[in-house]
Assembly symmetry: C2
Homo-oligomer: 424 residues x 2
């Protein structure tokens, strides 16, 4: 055995070096006003538009390699860039530049009996790590959200998108530097060594927050291994409960939309709970079946329509992300609440009812990040919630829940202004 | 080797069982109104007052065992209960009962273009674990803060206080049950097996938050080992920077108070930074020395007073919690900011200056949980900040920073009220 060359940097050393550089750059960023950050983001957008030929050429290399490696059509589609997609990425940067700046916002203020003037103001979190898979747009989106909230970011994208990510990052970096922002605010981890992800997850005190963006196996690995706090959701097992007093037309439309508008999003319905007293269940089920959805039901659901196949015990805990839905008949609100408490992934759960007392109880008692009455769960989205963007949807219990955008990427500090007070 | 008896419950199984019971009880608690929770806390206070003889008898057993085990005088003092201390614990319960209830508070609300009415409302975190050392009052204080914020709590106190903690817990429990609150809202871990602490720290998904209360070695162990989020501070290395434009009298008074009012609290000053241009440094130093404080300085500080002994490199990173202070002379604000960025534990840092532009820059640029101008760092306290109490002071970057009381023991959920919206 020979010792490694002195020049070899371990993954932990690499991450420590990048995080330290990010921390230094972040201190400068934290002091910039909103207009300067917005100008930098617009400069990055302009640089990306100018780099379109280079980005498309890099993406073509990834697409060729991906096809040769046998990536699925869906994966190749996520990877693919074309002029409209590059323009959409640049446009997203411009939109993030236009969002209100959370940094410096005063959360609350008061004067203590001692005369001290107290206030809590929002400040950036610090250094954020993004671990993501094949979508190259995450490189720009995540970088822009972190920068707009005053944070430095370490980006670690998937190997299949390595050339695309490098080209996008190079363009962003040139744009930011042209606007006077240190390049170390947005750093792309320069190696695809898988041990680097482990080093990021272990970098407590160096990286302040990890946001995984990708499939369930990526999120599960990050949640299992991270010593750094993680903002994420693992599953989106979203329920829709149709109460006895639901409007039949709204119920049918919401069920159809919640399941089938897009089946691959985390806010899509995975379980439909039908109140035994709701008279129009057969019509709701027929609508779903006739739209091509496979239904897996308990015995009482199957009694409503012979096309429903039997559900297994696992179905109630399965996120299909496909045109498949589990269906159970429940005895009123309490039974629905018990089912949801047991099986929900705490992402988004919905009641459909015209009875305000019933849906207000549902809103109060369901303990998920998002609880809705009389709307499709597919509205679970930062854009639809008026946040202008989102870094992800969080189902943990601390810091930020539901769609997370700029505010969720900040923390706060207490400012205390005195006039010489000493404590008795 | 023989298999363990079937009846033996592992520490992990014990914690899983207690946490599950806490979760069930917490769901009931979450639905209670503020008046019911307050009444339960007052009932617990009354029960504790009624149980004073039993609590004092239990405490006497702990004191006898502690003395026999050779506990220090300071440790025995922390352990000791007497009638005034029991009354103070009961009074604290009554005070917590009178605090505003954060649960159900609406953080913000809006109407989306889709017509959906969005709001974020505060909800309890869930099940909170408290790991603490010898002070038996923590049993009541922590339980009351968790209950008042709608959370269930698992309490794991120190072995030296085991009888005191059991007696206090029994009284609280009787009071809560008499007010209709399930006993499982406040559970005392029924064994002093040290492996149980490890099981609590590993109980991700079962316990939502761990709050360590005790010395640095306890906090360090919890932070190193926990897979559950932790709210804590490890060190309170608090700086006071006396700027050139400080008022000499205020500077001297603040320095004396920040260091010596109580030396054992986390908000006590540990490092004094003197601007080279501040003319009254010798008087500030003389005041500290003549009050009995040991000063350890760099060469420039020692040139100001021969009684200052040399500081070692470690001193700048040491929390003395004693009448010892490290002193450095710095060249203006930038030099002070650099020292603080390098050595602060992000707890509380202070500037003394009459120049508003200077202290506002300090407030903006120091990235600690609490940043003060012209006040003693010993004001770093939930009571002084108007929170009415505190579960602890947090120096992490996520969720809650600085003094944490009821609001910091809550999270939020999004409520969405629609009228049948489906997403286009």
């Amino acid at each position: 055995m020979t010792a490694p060359a002195a020049a070899a940097e371990t993954p932990a050393e690499l991450i420590a070096r990048l995080a330290a550089a990010g921390r230094t750059a972040q201190r400068l960023l934290a002091g910039l006003d909103s207009a300067s950050k917005a100008a930098a983001l617009r400069a990055a957008a302009a640089a990306l538009r100018g780099a379109e030929p280079a980005v498309l050429a890099a993406n073509a290399r990834d697409m060729t390699a991906g096809a040769a490696a046998g990536l699925s059509g869906a994966m190749l589609d996520r990877l693919k860039l074309d002029p409209p997609r590059v323009e959409a990425i640049a446009e997203a940067l411009d939109q993030i530049a236009a969002l209100p700046d959370p940094v410096g916002q005063i959360i609350d203020s008061s004067t203590a009996p001692s005369g001290l003037a107290l206030s809590r103001v929002r400040v950036p979190i610090g250094v954020i790590g993004i671990v993501y898979e094949s979508r190259p747009n995450v490189t720009a989106d995540a970088a822009a959200l972190c920068l707009a909230s005053g944070n430095a970011v370490l980006l670690r994208g998937g190997s299949e998108a390595v050339h695309s990510n490098r080209a996008i990052h190079a363009a962003l970096s040139a744009g930011l530097v042209s606007a006077g922002i240190p390049a170390e605010v947005v750093q792309l981890v320069p190696t695809q060594d898988r041990a680097v992800v482990g080093a990021m997850l272990a970098a407590a005190g160096q990286i302040d927050l990890i946001v995984p963006r990708g499939g369930k196996s990526l999120v599960a690995r990050v949640q299992a291994d991270a010593r750094v706090p993680v903002l994420a959701h693992l599953d989106g097992i979203c329920h829709t409960f149709i109460h006895a007093a639901a409007d039949p037309a709204k119920a049918a439309a919401i069920a159809l939309n919640a399941k089938l508008r897009r089946t691959g999003v985390c806010g899509s319905m995975e379980t439909l709970l039908l109140d035994a007293q709701f008279p129009a269940s057969p019509a709701v089920l027929a609508g779903l079946l006739e739209a091509g959805c496979e239904l897996r039901g308990d015995a009482r659901a199957r009694a409503l329509d012979p096309r429903i196949i039997p559900a297994s015990a696992n179905d109630w805990d399965t996120e299909y992300l496909d045109a498949v839905l589990s269906v159970a008949v429940v005895d009123g609100l309490d039974d629905a609440l018990a089912h949801i408490a047991r099986h929900s992934s705490a992402h988004t759960d919905v009641i459909v009812s015209e009875d305000a007392a019933t849906y207000e109880r549902f809103l109060a008692e369901v303990d998920s990040a998002i609880v809705m009455a009389n709307a499709s769960s597919q509205f679970a989205d930062g854009g639809e919630f008026g946040l202008g963007a989102e870094i992800g949807i969080a189902t943990g219990r601390l810091h930020a829940r539901g769609p997370v955008a700029l505010e969720g990427l900040t923390t706060y500090k207490w400012l205390v202004r005195g006039s010489g007070q000493i404590r008795p």
